[in-house]
């Protein structure tokens, strides 16, 4: 048998070829890891930070806030029957489709999900939050509550607190601006009074930054 001398070149070639064979044979790891631990998600669930009150959303709509992105989680036919101003349709079952990744993977706009109630929107929030996306919110009460609170606000009784009266004023104004319920006198002052009771909107959280690289 010939003398097989293990020069560095032969050694490195053998090692690299073997590793190369392994990496060529093994399928790629395509699972997107969950970015938040179970505890973190539970904390967020408990604190309910993902909810946005209808008043907050209404205010942003009235002010035409560019940072608001409403997302309708219901089936497409329901979306076409009625949807909130500026909402896009992303049915719950299609959430993981790559065409929506751009909408989720950014740190500029607030993505507010709504359904008829809150269940489906919460499902979307859970899923997307675990994938690490930020700026995901849920419209408290969904469209059912929206109709009740904003489109047709019930006037509080005379014994209500100032807060409640202010809230009712705001809702009336918003309702008028957003084309809801009772025919109040139209006019800009309605919209103005709606924005008087400022409810602070959540700020978009910073996203993981993309690196610059190469030699620039």
């Amino acid at each position: 048998m010939k003398n097989f001398e293990l020069t560095p070149r032969k050694l490195i070639s053998i090692v690299l070829l073997s590793l190369g064979l392994i990496i060529a044979a093994v399928p790629k790891n395509t699972t997107t890891p969950y970015k938040l631990s179970a505890e973190q998600i539970l904390d967020e669930i408990k604190s309910g930070t993902q909810y946005m009150e209808p008043e907050q959303v209404a205010q942003m709509l009235v002010e035409k806030d560019p940072y608001l992105q409403l997302i309708d989680i219901r089936p497409v036919n329901e979306y076409e029957q009625f949807s909130l101003p500026g909402a896009v349709s992303i049915p719950r079952d299609n959430l993981l489709s790559p065409e929506y990744t751009e909408i989720f993977d950014q740190d500029v706009k607030l993505n507010v999900f709504y359904g008829n109630g809150t269940t489906q929107a919460n499902e979307a929030w859970m899923l997307l939050r675990q994938l690490g996306y930020q700026n995901i919110y849920v419209l408290q009460g969904g469209l059912n509550y929206w109709a009740e609170a904003i489109l047709n606000p019930t006037p509080p009784s005379n014994l209500s607190s100032n807060d409640e009266l202010a809230r009712y004023d705001f809702r009336k104004g918003a309702s008028q601006a957003l084309g809801g319920g009772t025919g109040l006198a139209a006019g800009n002052d309605q919209a103005a009074s709606a924005s008087k009771g400022k409810v602070p909107a959540p700020k978009p959280a910073g996203k993981k930054k993309k690196v610059a690289g190469g030699c620039s």
């Binding site: 020069t7 560095p8 070149r9 690196v211 610059a212 690289g213 190469g214 030699c215 620039s216």
Partner: protein, 174 residues
């Protein structure tokens, strides 16, 4: 012949593996790989901004740079990395006793010739690295590591051209 010749340098394959590990570490820590020419670019921009700020504000190249980078141009990953390269190279030189002031050149040419070509080569590399958005480290090596198409093309162009022109400049080296 089975005796490997004694070398004052590290075995190239071992060095290659270590180099690969450095690149892996850079990607793991910083999400980007090593480079070199970008640090020169940062330094040039910083220099022009200091010496002729008005020009730096109006000329397109410097404007585009400052739009893409906030803060001082010198406060960049690559600049710190290149400072490290100086230190690392120096330490290695000390350990292997290779510290020396000299103009390294083929004895068949004059040292002045070597320096002229070093300067010319540097100028060409400076220009080329801007077009190529990287040099052999930043574009070719790092690009290959992440399987970048641009990196691969860069590498082929650099080595291909150098091979093609080798005969014309052989007097410099052999």
């Amino acid at each position: 012949m089975s005796v490997s010749k004694k070398s004052k340098y590290m075995n190239p394959y071992l060095a290659g593996v270590l180099l690969g590990l450095v690149v892996i570490a850079a990607n793991f820590i910083s999400g980007r790989s090593v480079g070199a020419s970008g640090a020169i670019k940062s330094a040039v921009v910083a220099g022009v901004e200091t010496v002729a700020p008005a020009h730096a504000e109006s000329a397109k190249f410097y404007k585009e740079f400052s739009e893409g980078h906030e803060g001082s141009p010198l406060n960049s990953w690559l600049v710190y990395q290149m400072l490290g390269v100086l230190v690392g190279g120096f330490v290695s030189g000390v350990i292997s006793q290779r510290l020396t002031w000299k103009v390294e050149h083929n004895p068949k040419i004059k040292s002045r010739t070597r320096l002229i070509f070093a300067l010319t080569g540097g100028i060409l590399f400076g220009i080329g690295s801007q077009f190529g958005r990287g040099c052999t480290s930043g574009s070719a090596l790092s690009g290959m590591a992440v399987l970048s198409l641009g990196g691969f093309i860069s590498m082929m162009a650099i080595f291909g051209t150098a091979f093609a022109l080798a005969w014309f400049f052989r007097k410099l080296w052999i």
